[in-house]
């Protein structure tokens, strides 16, 4: 029931980051954190809105965990400010912040039962005992761990511990829940299952989630928006689709999914299209959006593997643009898809993903075949940095 209403509620709701009247719930203003000479977080500004499932995505050392720990209050920013619901968090210690965190190691208290672990936060707030019992039972139901209430953490499996940690961070109904690599310790199957559970739980409780992850697939499946971080700064913020379809930099394009990158030079730049000469591609690249850079600027064009197609016959409309030739070097059959590795005549290797529409066709494309590689004008993205 709750789910359907939230879902319908979601449809009519304008996405908050596009609504100029909406106030950001969490505001990070020019936050920098230095450890000695090392700058872990470099001048980061972010606005996160109520009810968002926001991911900080990056490799190790990108500063994502440091940023999260500053939100929780375990680290103080070297400069900059953090506001939660309009309140400056600078001088507020962790135990007074309206924030709860789910730790990467779960940090369950080993000397307490599951129930006591979950009740711990409520006891600190001096919630009456009978209410504690009710709320602990509620949240145990939510994570489906009612049967394990009396166990100690070491008597639980990894997945169960993870859910206890989640329950413990949810039970105080924080305004903001921080999750540090919450699914990192789980195996693949459990992780996928838990991703959906997390999203469901987030919709049920309506708390703003900020999650740190290095797993781009995880970030894509769960998030309302993603901030891609690289060596302390934010490379791009956007919805999963924006990040994937319109990466802002080469780093983002390569970090999220796989991509074919062609180096080239701008020949023509009009408001509605741009033409790029590329020796690597072996043809001119035509893209149906303009770019704000002067002619002759060296640029890269990113094309996703699934947006390219291959055929033995030349494509019906051959304008000499976005069409090039190559030889099949490798094929990986994945059942629903096949991945092809094609060596273009320029020597550049490109990866192409094709859905397998038909069962074994009579004349499938095979190793060492000469093929035409083509893509649509909307497929490419021009990147200048």
């Amino acid at each position: 029931m709750a789910q359907t209403t939230t879902q319908s509620g979601r449809k009519i709701k304008l996405e908050p980051w596009q609504d100029p009247k909406e106030q950001p719930y969490l505001r990070i203003e020019k936050v920098t954190k230095k450890f000695g000479d090392f700058t872990a977080v470099d001048d980061v500004s972010l606005s996160i809105y109520r009810g968002e499932f926001f991911s900080l995505l990056g490799g190790s050392g990108s500063g994502k965990t440091t940023l999260l720990r500053m939100l929780a209050g375990f680290e103080t920013p070297t400069s900059g400010k953090i506001f939660i619901d309009g309140v400056d968090m600078s001088n507020i210690p962790p135990y007074e912040r309206p924030v709860n965190m789910m730790f990467q190691s779960y940090a369950l208290f080993p000397h307490m039962t599951v129930e006591q672990n979950i009740a711990f936060g409520l006891k600190q707030d001096r919630v009456p005992r009978d209410q504690i019992r009710v709320r602990v039972a509620e949240v145990l139901d939510l994570v489906q761990l009612g049967r394990f209430a009396k166990r100690r953490p070491h008597q639980l499996s990894g997945g169960q511990r993870q859910r206890v940690a989640l329950a413990r961070s949810l039970v105080k109904r924080p305004k903001l829940l921080l999750l540090d690599e919450p699914l990192g310790a789980l195996d693949r199957r459990l992780r996928e299952q838990t991703q959906f559970e997390l999203v469901n739980i987030q919709e049920q409780v309506g708390i703003t989630f900020v999650i740190v992850t290095h797993d781009q697939e995880e970030a894509m499946t769960m998030s309302s928006r993603i901030a891609v971080m690289n060596s302390g700064w934010i490379a791009q913020v956007g919805t999963p689709a924006q990040i994937y379809e319109y990466p802002a930099t080469k780093f983002v394009a390569e970090f999220i999914g796989s991509v074919n990158m062609f180096a080239g030079r701008i020949l023509e730049d009009e408001p509605d299209h741009v033409l790029i000469q590329s020796e690597e591609a072996g043809c001119d690249l035509y893209i149906n959006h303009g770019v704000p850079v002067p002619l002759g600027t060296p640029v890269s064009v990113a094309v996703r593997p699934e947006k390219m197609s291959i055929s033995r016959e030349p494509p019906p409309v051959d304008s000499g643009r976005n069409v090039t030739r190559g030889t099949v070097r490798e094929i990986a059959y994945l059942g629903n898809l096949s991945n092809y590795l094609i060596e273009l005549d320029s020597g550049k290797m490109v990866r192409i993903t094709q859905p397998n529409f038909n069962r074994l066709t009579e004349m499938p494309i095979t190793w060492e075949d000469r093929v035409h590689v083509s893509w649509q004008p909307f497929a490419g993205v021009v990147l200048t940095q």
Partner: protein, 315 residues
């Protein structure tokens, strides 16, 4: 060339071992048992035997327990008089209780002093921990006796402490500390403090800092987080340290005889008196056996907690 010879040798020695029903592993396990047998169980049996004998003017100064009666019959004479004597004379009960009291108070003082020190070392930057631990262990490099003796110089009427306090103007007349219970406490706490600090440090150092972060995150102020997380999780260290202080303190002889007054009655001194002044070996042995019984309970507790700790560490 030498390899076959050596393998022959090992196989022959293995055969020799197996003739006695032993494997290499069995031998390793055997070593501590042999050690305990030779240096604990046999001496204990001798003491136990003497405690059941009667004092006698002879060499050795007690009667034999086993006797060959006429007709080749082996007779055993068990004499419980020494144990009965311990019960009849209140001196022994007072001495035992006093020893337990002094050991208990010293243990509590060691815990109160040692916990903050162990905590401080465990929380210090990693590069500081080694030197700080070194400072805790350093006094062991001087003879125990000399260190206890040095306290006489510090605590006596004209000693360092009194002179210093008078110079400060805190007191007018020297404090009478030496040869009182206070000086015994000072001596025991000073001597045994490292035995409290080291096991405490070992448990505190292993404590996961993210647990404290989690407690803070859930709304616990630092003091509350300490009481709810650090303290219970350092319980194994508290138990180990307390027993390491308590057990030797009960039987302590040197410190009370050097620093204690004439009124301080501790079981170690009573034992010494029975043995060397009265030359009553059976009563002295009975005192020792009774002391052991007092200590067996804490030792068993100690082992119980250690086992529990090891189990927890495995998980």
């Amino acid at each position: 060339m030498s390899q076959p010879a050596s393998s022959l040798k090992t196989s022959s020695s293995r055969r020799l071992l197996s003739r006695f029903g032993l494997s290499g592993r069995g031998l390793v396990v055997l070593v501590p048992y042999v050690w305990l047998l030779l240096f604990f169980l046999i001496p204990f049996a001798i003491v136990l035997k003497i405690s059941f004998a009667e004092a006698d003017i002879a060499i050795p100064p007690y009667t034999a327990l086993l006797d060959w009666a006429e007709g080749g019959m082996l007779t055993v004479k068990l004499n419980f008089a020494s144990f009965m004597f311990l019960l009849t004379d209140s001196l022994y009960a007072v001495a035992y209780l006093n020893s337990l009291k002094i050991a208990f108070v010293s243990t509590v003082l060691c815990l109160l002093l040692g916990y903050p020190m162990a905590y401080g070392i465990a929380k210090a930057p990693a590069s500081w921990r080694g030197p700080l631990l070194m400072l805790i262990i350093l006094p062991f490099w001087t003879s125990f006796l000399i260190r206890v003796y040095a306290w006489i110089g510090i605590l006596k009427q004209e000693g360092l402490l009194n002179n210093f306090l008078i110079w400060l103007g805190v007191i007018d007349t020297p404090l009478n500390i030496l040869y009182t219970d206070v000086s015994i406490y000072i001596g025991i706490v000073y001597s045994y403090l490292p035995f409290m600090i080291l096991p405490l440090y070992a448990t505190l150092e292993k404590l996961d800092d993210t647990l404290l972060e989690a407690a803070a995150d859930l709304g616990a102020r630092p003091v509350k987080a300490f009481l709810a997380v650090t303290l219970p999780l350092s319980m194994p260290g508290i138990v180990a340290g307390s027993l390491l202080v308590f057990i030797p303190a009960v039987g302590e002889f040197v410190i009370p005889s050097l620093l204690g007054g004439p009124n301080t009655l501790m079981i170690g001194a009573v034992l010494w008196n029975e043995f060397f002044s009265n030359r009553d070996w059976p009563v002295a042995s009975a005192v020792a056996i009774a002391l052991l019984l007092f200590l067996v309970v804490p030792i068993m507790l100690f082992q119980y907690f250690q086992e529990k700790q090891q189990e927890a560490a495995k998980q």
